[in-house]
């Protein structure tokens, strides 16, 4: 019984993004009760940080999580950012693929899915509307608006239920959402650990968190310095594809291709454009829309052969080694900490990134398993903690590949160490939608290794110095104890009297340490020989 095409295509329809993700919420990271709640915290916190920083405000967030019933929570999240103008509120919270961060700029979020995803999850699990109070400046005035709304997934738009003007003291957004089928946990993947790690990477922020038991945690600022705002960076010639050029050409308002090139790409001077024209024989004065694919391909191939300055790094704002140290000291209170921020590098030819790393030893470093301390890895991308998919992540892979024994750490698993790694980039190469693990680009692996090995050397020095101090103390004691008894015994052996030995004792006790080192080597050699001799079969 064959059916014809027109009949079959009667059922053909189009979905909105909201409908699509309603059917596929796991693609937003909402899978599992614990992970779902952590993802909500993540989306709201990063959005607040980004908004405040973009507005030049020191971020301050207060979060209140109330438990209504098993797996049912009310979340109140309030920030001190610039707020959202009234007519953008439902766009931010109800329209998927909408956002202000689609430029080539370093920011925590980037996909225009975060906030609307939280509203979708809330609505799907509880049917409750979202409530938002936004305070924002208009001229010198601070306006306030309160709104309750739902998401209309059929249209990918908001549906305002209620709206009124309110008086607010300051700018910022407060949102209240309800969730079911989520769960608050203290585990490594849970919401609390997410906040704690966020604070290490964002020592300039303040967060107040009231947990479901009513306990209040205040994470203070470790520094008053607001990180500079990352600048939008034009793509680097080595990082664009022919498709990118064609895409730019299609959507530009420039009249000539040459001016499109200089204005849309970094490191692209008129001199370079002339060179390109000369080599490719392509008329770059033509209108961008007339650029053919083959020509774009030709230009991109030429890019690969030309020498350009590395991409500008003004777009990359690392946390900075001092700030990381402050964050670590504030949260982990370690015995020793070393941090480093590497110089910018590029991967895949043109995407610049910076690796920062920190090692904390002792204090509250490491994680507690039973009554033992184990080492732990804290991964971050643009200051955002990566809580999941540790196994497949390039940052983990790079750290695991380090031979820690070379740095005097015999059993890294069972050492109270926290290793912190942050990758800063306008374009972090995530492995999947969940944005929880970084792709193993060679240059990234290399940089993480280099950064960590550098600070591991500092840790080694610290541990060595600590050991040396202890040894020096024992050294004198050994001579004072052993010399008299040995000479007494030698006297018995020779059948003579014990001679005066004050001079000898003083001589060996005061012996400069450097000599010992040399002798140690001699002895080492001897001992090694002995060992080999012992193992040597007859």
């Amino acid at each position: 019984m064959e059916r014809e095409a027109s009949e079959l295509f009667e059922e053909f329809k189009e979905l909105t993004a909201s409908e699509f993700f309603r059917r596929n919420k796991q693609m937003l990271g909402f899978s599992g009760k614990i992970r779902s709640l952590t993802m909500v915290f993540h989306e709201l916190i990063t959005n607040s940080f980004d908004a405040a920083e973009e507005a030049g405000i020191q971020p301050e967030i207060s979060i209140d999580l109330k438990r209504v019933d098993k797996d049912h929570y009310i979340l109140k999240h309030k920030d001190n950012g610039p707020g959202i103008p009234e007519n953008y509120i439902t766009k931010v919270y109800c329209t998927m693929f909408a956002g202000s961060k689609f430029r080539n700029i370093q920011s925590r979020g980037q996909q225009g899915l975060g906030c609307s995803g939280c509203v979708l999850l809330s609505q799907m699990t509880t049917g409750k509307p979202a409530r938002v109070i936004s305070g924002y400046k208009k001229g010198d005035e601070i306006k306030g608006v309160e709104m309750t709304f739902k998401m209309d997934v059929k249209t990918n738009k908001g549906l305002i239920l209620n709206k009124k003007k309110v008086d607010v003291d300051s700018t910022g957004v407060a949102i209240e959402l309800q969730f079911k089928d989520v769960s608050y946990s203290l585990s490594e993947q849970g919401a609390f650990e997410y906040i704690r790690r966020s604070m290490i990477a964002n020592p300039h922020a303040k967060v107040t968190f009231r947990d479901p038991t009513g306990q209040l945690f205040i994470f203070h600022r470790a520094t008053e310095i607001i990180p500079p705002l990352p600048k939008e960076v034009l793509p680097h010639p080595k990082g664009v594809t022919a498709d990118d050029l064609i895409f730019m050409a299609k959507h530009t308002d420039k009249r000539r291709f040459r001016s499109l090139l200089t204005s849309s790409l970094s490191r692209m001077s008129t001199k370079r454009v002339n060179e390109i024209e000369e080599i490719t024989k392509i008329d770059l004065n033509k209108r961008p829309k007339d650029m053919k694919w083959e020509e774009a391909e030709q230009i991109v191939e030429l890019f690969a052969q030309m020498d350009f300055m590395a991409p500008p790094t003004s777009g990359l704002i690392p946390i900075g080694k001092e700030q990381i140290e402050k964050g670590i000291r504030e949260i982990l209170n370690p015995e020793f900490v070393a941090t480093t921020t590497r110089k910018p590098k590029t991967y895949r030819g043109g995407v610049s990134f910076i690796i920062e790393a920190g090692i904390a030893y002792g204090g509250n470093s490491g994680r507690v398993v039973g009554d033992q301390k184990r080492s732990e890895i804290m991964r971050f991308a643009n200051r955002v903690p990566l809580s999941f998919d540790q196994g497949s992540c390039a940052l983990t892979e790079a750290l695991k590949s380090i031979d820690w024994k070379r740095y005097g750490i015999r059993d890294i698993e069972n050492t109270p160490i926290t290793v912190f790694v942050n990758i800063v980039s306008t374009n972090v190469p995530y492995l999947s939608t969940g944005k929880q693990s970084v792709a193993p680009e060679d240059e990234i692996l290399h940089e993480v290794r280099q950064a960590t090995m550098k600070i591991a050397r500092s840790l080694q020095k610290y541990l060595n110095a600590k050991r040396a101090a202890k040894e020096e103390e024992m050294r004198s004691k050994i001579f004072e104890t052993y010399v008299p008894v040995i000479l007494k015994e030698a006297a018995i052996l020779s059948g003579r009297d014990v001679p005066e030995y004050e001079y000898i004792l003083a001589k060996v006790t005061r012996r400069p340490k450097i000599l010992d080192e040399i002798d140690k080597e001699t002895l080492q050699e001897l001992t090694n020989d002995d060992m080999v001799g012992d193992k040597d079969d007859e």
């Binding site: 000479l487 003579r496 012996r511």
Partner: protein, 358 residues
Amino acid sequence: MTSRKEHALKRRDLAVNKLTSLGDRIIDDVAKQTVPAIRVPSRGTSNIVYDEDRRYYVLGDRYGQRSLGNVKQIKKIGQMVYMANFCKGLVQTGKTATLREMYYVSEGWDIDFGDQQESNIVGEDLEVTLGITREDLGLMPEEDGASVYGDITLKDDDVEINAMRMGKSGYTISPTIDEVELLDHNVERVIAVETMGMFHRMVQENAYKKFNTLIVGLKGQAARATRRFLKRVNEELGLPVYICNDGDPWGFHIAMVIISGSAKLAHVNHELATPNAKFLGVTASDIVNYDLPTDPLKDIDVLRLKELYKDPRYRDEFWKVEIKKMLKIGKKAEQQSFSKYGLEYVVDTYIPEKLDAL
């Protein structure tokens, strides 16, 4: 020839003097306001060299230091001095002790040992520094030596012993073999075998009569006392020594350690090696010629054979050929595998043929 008793007393005096001199050296240094240091010949592999003339391993010229001024070495020097005093006591009273006993005695010393291994190493230090054997210092191994059956008469502490009148298991060589006098014998040779199974077979088949020989049951790797005994019967009594072991790298090497000494005990090989002793079998050629029941070589056997091939003690063409042949056939065989042809075959046929061929 001085009697064994006088000989023993002389050795004791020498040991006491050497021990005393160790104390003297230290006290002298202190008196001269020099930091005392003792030079200990190195026993590392790089300092063990095969002496082509003497045909066994000896120590080379390299030394290590034990200085009173070095925080790591001072403990060792202290242990050495304490141990020297303990040994001096043993030698002077004519007693002996095991290393294990000394380890326990050291509990009462101001500088003791972390573990038995540590005390064993210092014991070797003392041996090599003073140039005398541990037996001379009164430190005896726990293990007894081989069993001996055959017409030899020994004198131990005034007791006369004949090794054919001691039951089927014969005379057991004790660790104090150096104090035993070789009084008399009525044999032409000595045949040592690796296992007690073969020893009893030889006794049962009257091999001692047939070959007019002493039978020595080595019990695997030969103890120091056994090696000392074989050297003495060879050199003092002029008896040829033949070694008949399993046909595998371990059997080969048990024989070779008797013949050319061990690397590990290079400092005392002059007291232990019997360079004139001869390997009688089982060889790879025997495996082929006698069509013996075999086991395949294990990985570790192959590895060991390759090591032996490079060892200077195996430089003879005979060994080169046999080792290569064993690697090629990939098989090994035990002495007892001759039982395939009946229990008597090894004594009635194999050994006579091998002795003839030598």
